[in-house]
Symmetry: none
Subunit: 189 residues, 4 copies
């Protein structure tokens, strides 16, 4: 429950953006959701684009940090995989709007400058992890694609009702699936 108007704007904007899309969300929509008028938005942000950018940077940062801290707590490969996959889905389940919002940017080249200058994109956590475990015998780019693609699609299937397990089961099943894949590859190597 953010108190300050600026945060309330970001909070509501994120919800509407992820539901309706960025372009189809108007400043008026956001203002109405926050309970202020259109003009007031411009006390806090210079433009709609700035709201979008703030949101993307915030969310990416948050997701990045979330993944990173989950990873850092792990003692071994198995635990790391567990922490990382659970953190990934946990973020998606807890912040579906932010999660979907971040993913919008893979399809729209809305603003490529948005990439954080020091490369702190969520996927980089995953990539670095697999890069430091080349012994599993999968090229880290492909491992990353497998990890992110699978989890993201599982989340989407969950959201559209195609997968109807409860969140905890999904996290458990997803972890086991990934573990099987990477363990067997590791052993097979």
């Amino acid at each position: 429950m953010p108190r300050r108007t600026r945060n309330r704007i970001l909070h509501e904007a994120l919800k509407i953006f992820s539901n309706k899309g960025i372009r189809e969300t108007t400043i008026k929509d956001i203002a109405r959701a926050v309970g202020i008028t259109e003009g007031a938005i411009y006390r806090h942000f210079d433009s709609k684009e700035q709201i979008v950018k703030s949101l993307f940077l915030n969310s990416s940062q948050e997701f990045y940090t979330h993944l990173n801290s989950a990873l850092s707590k792990a003692q071994n490969f198995e635990e790391a995989l567990k922490n990382l996959s659970e953190a990934f889905l946990n973020y998606a389940f807890t912040n579906p709007e932010a999660f979907k919002f971040i993913n919008l940017f893979h399809y729209f080249k809305i603003d490529y400058e948005l990439r954080l200058k020091d490369g702190k994109m969520p996927k980089d956590v995953v990539y670095e992890f697999f890069k430091s475990h080349e012994e599993i015998g999968i090229q880290p780019e492909y491992a990353t694609a497998l990890f992110i693609g699978t989890l993201e699609r599982i989340f989407l299937f969950y959201e559209m009702g195609f997968i109807d397990d409860i969140e905890e089961d999904i996290q458990e099943k997803a972890y086991r699936l990934l573990l099987n894949i990477f363990k067997s590859n590791k052993e097979g190597a």
Copy 2:
């Protein structure tokens, strides 16, 4: 090089839609690309929405058929997996605009009626395939998420330059990756 105006409209619209997004593409953009005036578009389509729908239905159908025919030519599980994964990436590489356009609809609830009435969505081919091979020990919904999510993400990584193999190598690597996963699961079972 489609000759007829209607096809030229669809052709150009698809390209622009997949690059800029549907909402940010104007009728004027399309008209200019085709080399006619805005009004002329409306001799061929009643509305922008109709162009979007036509495109979605066409592309989905095409992709569905492409996957289906690849699958039907296979004699066994391994071959089926090979044909299916190659057909999937082949479609993405050959028709990147259509492929990206179809995927737009996972994020935007633009029009859920758009789903083909008899459920002939591309993902259903994959789902049915895994459903008839439950011996691999992976719940078909999760197997589908894994298959589609991984390949889609590989394609995206390729497009953004994060993966820089050539298309043939990607197809080969992707197939091997998937085969390893499903074979080992099959054997482990």
Copy 3:
């Protein structure tokens, strides 16, 4: 049942104009009703305006002649009034589209040049009649307003269901009403 295309165009245009209004009727509407294409209309008329003008001139002329010939058959004031009022309503009942179409022009200064050059407007028949019967003691302009206004409004009330007599009764009642008015004024004079 006009055979020639030109007449069919006029025929259908009149119907649609009087129902939807001139501005809201498109060339396409007319073409569709006639069973030809838009371009073909322009083989017969230079513009939409020309169709409107032709229609107005034709209808006015027709109505004018209809009233005039009814009047000319009368032997005395009473008969003249009877013939004129019956002819007026008869025209409205038989050609409601044309009748309503003519009346559109009282409200819109769509094109004042449309008035027939030699003044052959339907109302002039009525006006001339009352002018030649000043003995009734009503200024002919007012008598004309009374005659036309009353009958037109009766027709409108009939059309909107506010008056629900059958057409014959309306003609009879209207005639008696007018006769009473003008006879008593005549006698009172």
Copy 4:
């Protein structure tokens, strides 16, 4: 001279509508007349249709009230007829735009829901009046048609210069004309 923008819009729109017709009046026309831009109109009204509806409801209500209060001040039939006919013409002379605008709706079925829910249409005042005086021997529907039709047409003839009396004289003559009609009928009965 209304000060507030919303009222200025209604004021100017009424003038232009009654001159050019509703369909041929553009939002730009109205905006220009008010001295604002097109977009500004939409801060005050959701659509052109809403302007039309507001205007129709306002004008009808105003005219209805005008007639009703004139009628209620009368002590007897003669006075009532005098008050009603004078109020009718007075409204037309004073608010020619509103008067003509209201009458547009007899010819165009623009929106039949526009009729006030409790039936408070101007003509109803006249109708109720004649209904409570059936002793005059004229069916109230026909008396209403006579009253309204005659006065409306007199106004139109005045506007087009066909009747060139001054307004006061017209009111006087119209009243006498109607009085003669209804009095003689009353006596004749």
